[in-house]
Each structure stands twice: as structure tokens, then as C-alpha cells.
Symmetry: C2
Amino acid sequence: KNRVITIANQKGGVGKTTTSINLSVCLALLGKKVLIIDFDPQGNCSSGLGIPKDKNTIYEILLSGKNVDECIIKSQIENCDVIPANINLSGATVELANVENCNFYLKKITDQLKTRYDYIFIDCPPSLGVLTLNGLTASDAVLIPIQTEFFALEGLTQLIHTINIVKKDLNPRLQIEGVVLTMLDKRTHLTDDVTKNVIGYFGKKVYKTMIPRNIRIAEAPSFGLPVVIHDVMSTGAKAYQQLAKEFIDGEE
Amino acid sequence: KNRVITIANQKGGVGKTTTSINLSVCLALLGKKVLIIDFDPQGNCSSGLGIPKDKNTIYEILLSGKNVDECIIKSQIENCDVIPANINLSGATVELANVENCNFYLKKITDQLKTRYDYIFIDCPPSLGVLTLNGLTASDAVLIPIQTEFFALEGLTQLIHTINIVKKDLNPRLQIEGVVLTMLDKRTHLTDDVTKNVIGYFGKKVYKTMIPRNIRIAEAPSFGLPVVIHDVMSTGAKAYQQLAKEFIDGEE
Ligand SMILES: Nc1ncnc2c1ncn2[C@@H]1O[C@H](COP(=O)(O)OP(=O)(O)OP(=O)(O)O)[C@@H](O)[C@H]1O
Ligand SMILES: Nc1ncnc2c1ncn2[C@@H]1O[C@H](COP(=O)(O)OP(=O)(O)OP(=O)(O)O)[C@@H](O)[C@H]1O
Ligand SMILES: [Mg+2]
Ligand SMILES: [Mg+2]
């Protein structure tokens, strides 16, 4: 194993953080050793798992040379660790902007940690700037959450274009791990239209498991818990457990 | 009137574009002359109103000196014009980064157009970078959509901090126009908790009109229509009409 996977999509609010948290936790519950790197200055991944983010974050490792072991925090779930992020990380966007090899900073860190984990997931902010480029450059693959709504289709060409540029210029091994459809709402044709579009675009890369819109998913982070702990019987929890199984099957 | 208002929040998917489109259109239907400037490279505002965005966009005016009149497009709704955006605008982030007065580029344009409209709304991307800073610098006020979900609370301190910096260093007249709560879901306590929090933080600035989660709102852009045209009887349409009235009342 020892794979690094970036979770990216520049469209906002499509379920990047929710997927980072819940897929990682479900894999950990299946016995995989997982690390989540919160790479969004909003720090939603950290707070969604109840992880303190006031100090010892990814920013301190990247730019002030702090020892990575001091920033790895064990979550409440066995086998699932987190390196938190906070608003300081938005400083990195400016500090890295004109530095040579600015897109390789995160890779230096993930290369050190890779052998300790089965999977390292990187949660990105809603943009295609230096933070997401660092994630894509450090990764073996990218997992793309796509909300089944009209606006979510607009940015896909640009996202694929960026992935191809990174593959060409920065990281030749980068692949698309998979595409997961999120926030499905059975009550509307909108979902069907978007779903058909996405499958037409990505084919077999689209996971069969689709994540329904489920209020328990939105509630869980306010308790600092993944949905599979907050409400294991919910359709949201079952969907992410299913996704984790499909993800592992795809690996073999 | 002649007011310029930026719609901003760095959290993704909270209803910035949806509010830009539907508030503008409802004001236009009440007889106000409105211009929407799409200032997000995703170009969701443009496509949500069925506006072509392949050429003559805000990017061409900002950086290649195109005549602004060539880029103002009349929407299907009387009194509502749009200046579209497309992915080229993401180039501006790089091109403006090291330029002196890089935050004043949009203001040069809105200053020319102000007297032609009652309101100019600027739809921003999910970040606090140079595009949103241009929006805040060009504006009389900022309108903040906040999704009633846990993650949406995290970035508020940073957003207010940025507004205060812009007010101090770039635009002393900048005020908070108002805060609108979006995607309310009556079925969960989560909404109540977040709502209480937001009212505690912003007090009277929070509009009494709250926008419910309503599937018609999410469907409308796929027809290139605002919700009040797509389905005027929907709870979503009624809420935005109500918001427009409250917005105007607040002006007087
Ligand atoms: N399947 C779902 N059902 C219901 N709510 C969901 C679902 N997935 C995510 N959410 C909620 O929708 C909101 C947006 O999700 P999330 O924050 O994970 O998206 P994101 O892509 O990480 O956003 P950003 O672009 O700001 O980083 C959150 O409040 C989250 O709790
Ligand atoms: N009240 C609502 N009810 C249901 N769906 C909504 C509502 N408001 C917005 N949406 C849908 O939620 C998604 C996110 O909204 P929108 O794109 O307007 O947010 P945004 O803040 O502009 O996102 P971004 O951060 O990517 O610019 C869209 O698919 C939109 O159609
Ligand atoms: Mg996120
Ligand atoms: Mg938007």
C-alpha cells in the first residue's frame, strides 16, 4: 500500500472535507493505518474530528521546520492520525508563491511518512492554487468528490486540465483514484442529469457507491465525530462504509 | 442609491452565487437597475443566468483594457445586466499578485459604472485572495451568506478580520450590508445552533429573512434561470423575494 491520495475539487462545498474524514475513518475501522493531512487553512478537517489546531500544524512543519512527529495527533479512532491545519496555512500561499520548487514542499513531508501508513489523505481548499498543487505533486492519485448539482459540473474541465499539467510537469505518477458523487437527492431529476454527465466524462472511475444527502452527515462535525461514529445506522454512515469497501476492492 | 456590494465568504458552497443571482433579479423585478459582476473564475453566475462567457468578460476589461460597454450583457430579466467571467480570470490572480495597487483594479471599473445602476453586486470565489480583495476595495458594503451548518462558522473570524483590514488600509467606507442565513433545514437542531451563533456574532446585521434549503433553487441554474422565474411558487423563490424587500427597506 503506502499510497498518498489528494482529495480535490476547486468548486466549494462539494464534500471534500466530509469525504476526507469519513472515508479515512471507515478505512481505519477496517484495519488500515491512515493519516489525514488537513491542507485547508479553514481547518475544517481538524475541527470535524475534534483535533486541536492552535499549534503544531502542517504550516509549522512546511515553513518553520518543526519536527513532523510533534504535529501528528491521534484521533479518537484507532489507526487514524491527523496533522491539523489552521489559518496560518493561508500565509503559505504568499510565502511559497515565488519560491523555486514551491510545489514540492508537501512532498518532502509525505515522502518521509509514507511507509508508516497504508493511506495518507490530503484535504484541499476550494481552489487550484499552490496548496492544491502541492497536494497533487505529493500524491500517487487524486480522489474527486462531485456534488450532484448543476454548478458542480462547470469546473471539471479546469480540474482535469490542472491534473494533466501536474502529471506532465511535476508528478508523472499522478492518476485519478476515483470520482465520488455526493449529496444525491433522489427527489429531483437534477441528480440524474448530473450523474449521467459525470459517468459520461469519467466512465469506470466513478465509484458505484454514491453518497446521499443525509442530515446526520452535516450534524456529525458539530460533535467532533465522523458520521459513522455519530450515527452508524444513518444512510450517510452506511454509504461511506460502502465507499471504503469499494475503495479497498479497487486497490487489489 | 448607486451602491456597490460584494457578496463574499471564503467557505465554499454557502450560496454566494445563488444569492448574487436571486437577490439581484428580485431587486430588478422590483424596478431597481442592477448589474452583477461575475468575479469568480468558475463563472457560475454567468451560466446560472444563461449568459455566454466565452469572450468579452471581466478579465478582458481588467487586464486587456477592453471597453466595458462591450462586456455588459443584458440578462433575460429587464433591469438586470451581467458582466460575465470565465476561467481566464484565474490568470488575474497571478498577473495582479505583484502589481502595485493590485487591489484597486476592479474599483476603476465600478467607479465608471456606479451612476448607471442602483446596485452593482460582485460575486466572489471561495477565497480571501486578490479577487475578493478587489471586490471589497471596490464596494460600499459586503453581504455575507452563511450556510447554517457547522463548518460554515469556522471561517467567520477570518472573514471579519479581512474586512477590517480592507476597511483600514484600502477602503475606509466599507461596511457590512448584512448577513443572510442560507440552506436552513428545519429538521435538525444544527440549524438552530448555528443560527443562534450567527445572531450572537452579528446581531442586527442578520436579515430576518432566512433562505430555506429548497430543491427548486438548486434546479434553477440548470435551466439558466433564477429561481423566481423557474418556480415562482417555491419556498426558495418566496424567500429571495422577501429578502429583496427587506434589503430595500434597510436602505431607506
Ligand atoms: N452527503 C451529505 N449530506 C448532507 N450534508 C453534507 C454531505 N456532505 C457534506 N455535507 C455538508 O455540506 C457542507 C459542505 O461539505 P464540506 O465542507 O465537506 O465540503 P468541502 O468541499 O470540503 O467545502 P470547502 O470547499 O469549503 O472546503 C458541510 O456543512 C457538510 O457537513
Ligand atoms: N437555499 C438553497 N437550497 C438548495 N440548494 C441551494 C440553496 N442555495 C444554494 N444551493 C445550491 O447549493 C450549491 C452551492 O451554492 P452556490 O454555488 O451558490 O454557493 P457558492 O458559495 O457560490 O459556492 P462557491 O464557494 O463554489 O462559489 C449550488 O449547487 C446551489 O444550487
Ligand atoms: Mg473542505
Ligand atoms: Mg459561487
